[in-house]
Symmetry: C2
Subunit: 339 residues, 2 copies
Amino acid sequence: MKNIIFNLGPESDVIISSRIRLARNLRDFPFPLKMNPKQSEEVLESIKEVLVNNYQDMNFINVNELSEVELFSMVEMHLISPEFAMSKKPKGLILSDTDIISIMVNEEDHIRIQALASGFQLENVWKMCLNIDNSLEEKLDIAFSDTFGYLTSCPTNVGTGMRVSTMLHLPALVMSGYINKILEVCNKLGIAVRGLYGENSKAHGNMFQISNQVTLGLDEYEIVNNVKNIVKHIIDQERILRNELYKQNPIIIEDKLSRSYGIFTNAKILTSEEAFKLISDVRLGLEMGIIKDIDMYKINEIMLFMQSANLQRLSGKKLSLQEINIKRAEIVQKIIKNK
Amino acid sequence: MKNIIFNLGPESDVIISSRIRLARNLRDFPFPLKMNPKQSEEVLESIKEVLVNNYQDMNFINVNELSEVELFSMVEMHLISPEFAMSKKPKGLILSDTDIISIMVNEEDHIRIQALASGFQLENVWKMCLNIDNSLEEKLDIAFSDTFGYLTSCPTNVGTGMRVSTMLHLPALVMSGYINKILEVCNKLGIAVRGLYGENSKAHGNMFQISNQVTLGLDEYEIVNNVKNIVKHIIDQERILRNELYKQNPIIIEDKLSRSYGIFTNAKILTSEEAFKLISDVRLGLEMGIIKDIDMYKINEIMLFMQSANLQRLSGKKLSLQEINIKRAEIVQKIIKNK
């Protein structure tokens, strides 16, 4: 499996992944909401031409032909948005061989460029996005205003069209309750904190998405730097608290995390919520050197495959909720034991 | 380790062990409560002489020289009673090489003969007790009344002086609530149901000691048969209920028992109560074929060594309650992983 989230990047004890997306639109077409099917097709063709011709490692995926389960598997892999999966309009996805870069065509904007890498790699993902963006701007007329910057369907994206986000694992901040202070500060600084699947999603397994709210009035460099500095600060806080919690009562922490590992690797029924909670403990145990029987690569693999749509894709059929919970426990044990 | 309880006997899916003890006294001495130290020594010497000289595989243990931790380790192995461990009078223990037969001298009675075997083996342990009893009666003048039978310190033992007991693991009867019906019926039939360590002890881990209450008015054969028949009935009930519980919802049972196995093998702190609860689930999982990573021999070994006095004996020092709970979790993992 090539999905990039399996690998470990810099600061992987706290940062799971870094992601940047750029929203772009073609000047000569209405925004997707207003397009007719013919215009949608034209937009799709022109972007496909530029990217698939320009890059040997970029592939066009005809998402209109995919089943619901396949589409939601891609949502779980963070390759497409849930809205994109559900949209009935002509749409397309261009994906790099490594799954690092994905470009949704005809989502909320004509073009959504995304680069996703493991660990703390904001500069790298930014470079990748810029590279794609430059290729598009060379060949296509992108909607841009000297006053407002890049124009987008939703005013919250106008300006840079940029969303910089990182996925953080913050168990010690949650355990100690300091997470509320962090949320407060982030809010004041124009930084959004969300759950694993973006807006309105809950923070399962102590995992938080931290991203910029403001896209206008700052340049790209400033946006990346703002997120980077706040995330660095959160990393420090999380690390200090982990050490303190452990120092205060090592055996209690060891007992708690080891029990979670025992349940995680033996249960026959696992709800998504419990699985994320247990994964949080297992990650922390691994990072602290308490759990040694498994590596982080497997945990990342489990985190991806244990999700509902991926479980159904692997089973080759729609499953009931109970069947999904049983299949989830099976996959966890399979990945841990058989590889 | 030679302790007999590690092995598996007949009907070991439900019956952990079978035990018979006979209470006997020498006619020419007062009962232990009334003896002076000189008399205690004389009783001790005469019994020791008969048994240690008669049997090559019987060894005299000078329990007066043992530490409290060593004595209570023997209580946990069911070789001696707690009262015997605590008594300050001259006392002695005669133990067979295999730990199957143990004879306490100067407990509540001058002689307490016990035979303990794994599984459902009441006839066998009875034969062993009788064999020792015959040797003693040949050489010594045993207190016996034609009206009352064998005379004992406590009137509840007068007659046969016989206590027949079996240790049963009854998780399905407990889960289904039917255990209360069993307790009621046993009570009416003069059968006592107790926890793991006899009178006043709680039923940890769904383990129950089932024994005769009446020693007078029935002969030995009838007492053994009464207990045997009731136990057979309980075995049947337990087996039927296990099957029914499993048939009703196999995955729920598998999940419950597998989780217990996961916690049992990974926890870093285990109280005695939790450990027995988890062992009950692990035993049931093993017997049902749900848990396959461990054998019953190891479970029996753990059940013995995880108890407080044995843990302290293995550590070579007195431990605090928290230290015992940590040591218990260590021993569980050591026995499971290293052997």
